[in-house]
């Protein structure tokens, strides 16, 4: 081992929350061939950027680590917090060395932000990546393929480099697919270890490791994940009498780290979540070593996307969102689900009532609240989550068919957390 567990985590934390993206910029400076493509939540096919010689850099907002001044001047009070931080970063020069920005189609805020970037940064390539909501290969698949191709063409034209020869492109893209498959497999393995032994690495530490992967080359992140996996083979930490929960609704604007910590301190092990969902969007591997790697990426999107508020429910083959969330709860042996969504986030909040109802019907206990990435006080949440945890310890999760206490059966919704904070 090259570094201690603590050092590994602290290095990841530093990279994950460095709002100047210094690590990515240093990587770019090493060669004139390299470029940086910033992307917004949730999912883009990072393999393609990697194969072109670029580094896809996830832009997840500023969290509670930057005071927002200019960004607020562009947004009304009833729009979520994430775009304010992104605008603040743009205005403060944090994206100075970025060559392209990709805005995946997940909501109207991100969509309109792509237009704002077209105005702010007229010389940089800005791509709104319209992920298809039709999942037939000849319809949505054909369209998605063109979307990726025009992204590639756009980056090439802005960087005035010669397009790859086809064989080179195929080889490079296959190589990138292998690396990202490895990345997703490692993440999955660590999540599975955490499911069994969540005390070995805290949710916050794991969050830092995962988030750091958005701002460094995949090769480097894979090494970090191998190191972490090795550490997690040995027992570390001390098991607590916590319940096990899945977090849902936090896929875009990220919860502040303090909130993740609070959930754990209130008696919950987070055994799965949708933080940084893009890193885990494709379930399983994308086909490797094919003669049409772009087709393999498209097929994986059509057939192996995870479930998400930004994706039309009827499309993916493996069931409704309620069914998939319920099955995740079961496979992770979770005791309940915490619906944590950013304030003013239509996609997450409009999914919640039916998901919550559906899970309760399936005997899964839930609570829900809203946050903002810069929420600073968690007293109310701690109490609510603590009560949730205590009641499950006392009355059972309901998953075994036992009747839970009737008043706890109903969802607890902490209204407007930010106002309280």
């Amino acid at each position: 081992m090259h570094r201690t567990f603590e050092k590994l985590i602290s290095e990841c934390e530093h990279i994950a929350f460095d709002l100047q993206f210094s690590h990515a910029k240093a990587w770019k400076r090493a060669s004139s061939e390299r470029f940086l493509a910033g992307y917004l939540p949730i999912y883009i096919p990072r393999e393609v950027i990697h194969a072109m010689g670029g580094l896809p850099v996830g832009i997840m907002g500023t969290g509670d680590r930057m005071q927002i001044i200019k960004g607020d001047a562009y947004y009304q009070s009833y729009i979520c917090h994430l775009p304010r931080g992104v605008v603040e970063l743009a205005m403060s020069g944090a994206f100075a060395e970025f060559d392209a920005f990709i805005f995946p189609s997940i909501c109207d805020v991100i969509r309109n932000l792509s237009g704002m970037f077209q105005i702010f940064k007229p010389d940089v390539f800005v791509k709104y990546l319209d992920l298809p909501q039709n999942f037939l290969p000849s319809v949505g698949g054909a369209y998605y393929r063109r979307e990726i191709e025009t992204t590639v063409e756009g980056i090439l034209s802005h960087r005035s480099t010669v397009p790859f020869e086809n064989e080179v492109w195929v080889e490079r893209l296959n190589h990138s697919i292998r690396l990202y498959n490895e990345n997703r497999a490692l993440i999955e393995r660590i999540v599975t270890i955490r499911q069994e032994y969540p005390w070995r690495v805290s949710a916050v530490d794991w969050y830092n490791v995962l988030r750091s992967g958005l701002a460094m080359p995949v090769e480097e992140h894979n090494n970090i994940l191998y190191e972490l996996e090795a550490y997690l083979q040995d027992d570390r930490g001390r098991p607590l009498d916590n319940i096990r929960v899945v977090i849902s609704g936090a896929f875009c604007e990220q919860p502040p780290v303090g909130l993740i910590k609070t959930i754990e301190l209130a008696g919950c092990y987070i055994v799965d979540d949708d933080f940084m969902l893009g890193s885990r969007w494709i379930e399983g591997d994308i086909a490797e070593d094919t003669s049409d790697p772009l087709g393999a990426i498209v097929d994986a999107y059509l057939q192996h996307s995870t479930f998400s508020a930004s994706l039309y429910e009827a499309a993916p083959a493996s069931g409704t969102k309620v069914e998939r969330l319920a099955s995740l709860v079961k496979s992770r042996k979770a005791d309940g689900v915490i619906f944590a969504a950013p304030s003013f986030c239509d996609p997450a909040l409009l999914d919640r009532p039916e998901l919550q109802l559906g899970l309760e019907r399936a005997g899964v206990r839930t609570i829900g609240f809203q946050y903002s990435e810069n929420t600073g006080q968690f007293k109310v949440i701690k109490e609510e989550v603590g009560a949730f945890s205590d009641s499950i310890k006392l009355w059972g999760s309901g998953a075994d068919g036992s009747e839970p206490d009737s008043h706890m059966w109903l969802p607890t919704v902490i209204e407007d957390l930010t106002a309280i904070a």
Partner: protein, 473 residues
């Protein structure tokens, strides 16, 4: 003898005071519209008996001609919601949806609709609406539509959904790839589901006939909204405009009745324009057109009359608005094309106002301000609507910088009465009118110039005080 154009029916009582009854009767357009909506409502309430199939769908990017080609009947949940709002009854429906689990933060149209479902699906006129036979999810320009129908799928289990994903015109162009994607969806999902539900085979000739009629209606409505370029404007293109876009947005585009209605309306508005008359308001004809405005964003429905009064009391007339383009942007020459039926449906969906990129919205509004000789630009920012609202402050800043036009910004909601603050809106509008008044005294109307540079090189911004008041800076 000159005529007074009929005001929208919801203003009938108030406007009668200004217009002699015998004159109002002469306005055929109003009677036609009443008849059309009455017939549709009758068809809907008797659909179960007559066996007509009912399609729930949305206004922006609606496939009106296709629905007509299958003899189906449309229900537009947003129109129900706005009508509940106008009747001041949306508040309790929204609260019911919130009790059911919907957050205070999400689009209130959705909550109003869910609230209506929870209360037995009684429509705004007091009669029960038939349940859908098909959910036609063509969701142009807004993600919330997708979420909305995913929720309706749970409320109406087993009802088939036909999904039409409209790509966003992010780069200001509609590419062949985008058209192909939409046409394939129509061919492989939407039309087969409509055939299945209606029990009828798709008839391309019938669709083309409706598309030809749609194109005629689009010609007339474009001409009507073009007449507001005249000074004084003969109608208000926002407050009365929302009424005039009713038929084309509520399922009649592509029907003969709509052609007749819009032709008739054109004749009436053109006559007003020829006579140099000002718009009719709920309190009669406007005495003097003092300010000409371009407005971005939907209106507030829960306090519609109070809201409008704040404008006409000051002699302010809206000469162009983006909201009247949500159901189709026909100003740029787009017309449904009977010779390219599916392709033109695709192009129509992609060209609706909220589906165009932010830079294109700025360009369009800039054109409106210049072409309609506006004195000022106003945004009514809707709390519910990310599709419209996210980015509006940049739109305002851009227009102010490009044209030096007085700009202002107010906030309300569509159908949630809790978000209408009369005093705040009035204060903001008073300052705005004052600003325009001063500008007109100094430079006369329509003399826009770029704002001056300060010594520090930064442009003076008229929107800064607005943002400061918001607590944003």
């Amino acid at each position: 003898m000159s005529k007074i154009i009929a005001p929208p029916p919801f203003l009938k009582g108030a406007a009668k005071a200004a217009a002699k009854p015998s004159e109002v009767i002469k306005e055929r357009s109003m009677l036609l519209q009443k008849q059309m909506l009455g017939d549709l409502f009758h068809d809907l309430t008797t659909a179960k008996d007559t066996g007509r199939k009912v399609v729930y769908t949305f206004v922006p990017g609606n496939l009106s001609e296709l629905i007509l080609a299958f003899d189906m009947l449309p229900v537009y949940p947003e129109i129900n919601a706005l009508q509940w709002g106008m009747r001041k009854k949306s508040g309790s429906l929204i609260r019911d949806a919130e009790k059911y689990g919907y957050s205070e933060d999400v689009c209130t149209y959705v909550k109003c609709d869910v609230g209506m479902f929870l209360n037995g699906n009684i429509g705004p006129t007091g009669e029960k609406l038939p349940p859908p036979d098909l959910l036609l999810l063509s969701y142009t320009g807004c993600f919330t539509f997708l979420k909305w129908f995913e929720n309706l799928q749970k409320l109406y289990p087993g009802v088939p959904t036909a999904m039409l994903h409209t790509p966003y015109a992010a780069d200001g162009v509609i590419t062949e790839d985008m058209v192909t994607y939409m046409v394939r969806q129509l061919e492989e999902d939407v039309i087969p589901k409509m055939e299945m539900v209606s029990g009828k085979k798709f008839n391309p000739e019938k669709l083309s006939r409706h598309l030809g009629l749609a194109s005629e209606s689009e010609d007339w409505i474009s001409k009507i909204f073009d007449l507001t370029k005249i000074v004084p404007s003969p109608i208000d293109a926002y407050f009365a405009g929302v009424y005039y876009i009713g038929p084309i947005n509520a399922g009649f585009r592509g029907a003969e009745s709509a052609v007749e209605y819009y032709h008739q309306l054109y004749l009436e508005v053109a006559e007003r324009a020829r006579e140099g008359r000002t718009p009719v308001t709920p309190e009669g004809e406007l005495e003097e057109e003092r300010f000409r405005l371009v407005v971005e964003g939907p209106p507030n429905w829960t306090h519609f009359r109070e809201f409008w009064k704040l404008f006409y009391d000051m002699g302010a007339v809206v000469v162009a608005s983006s909201y009247t383009k949500v159901g189709g942007l026909f100003d740029n020459g787009f017309r449904h094309d009977p010779d390219n039926p599916l392709e033109s449906l695709a192009r129509y969906c992609m060209g609706c106002y909220t589906n165009i990129s932010l830079p294109e919205r700025v360009n369009l509004l800039e054109g409106f301000i210049k072409d309609y000789k506006a004195d000022g630009f106003l945004i009514n920012s809707i709390k519910s609507c990310n599709s419209f609202s996210a980015g509006q402050l940049l739109i305002m800043r851009e227009l102010e910088q490009r044209l030096g036009v007085p700009v202002s910004f107010i906030e309300s909601d569509l159908v949630d009465p809790r978000y209408f603050s009369y005093a705040n809106i009035k204060n903001r509008l008073d300052s705005f009118f004052q600003m325009m008044d001063q500008r007109k005294r100094v430079g006369g109307r329509h003399q826009f110039s770029k704002p001056e540079q300060t010594s520090s090189g930064e442009q003076c911004s008229m929107i800064l005080p607005v943002l400061q008041q918001e607590g944003a800076l």
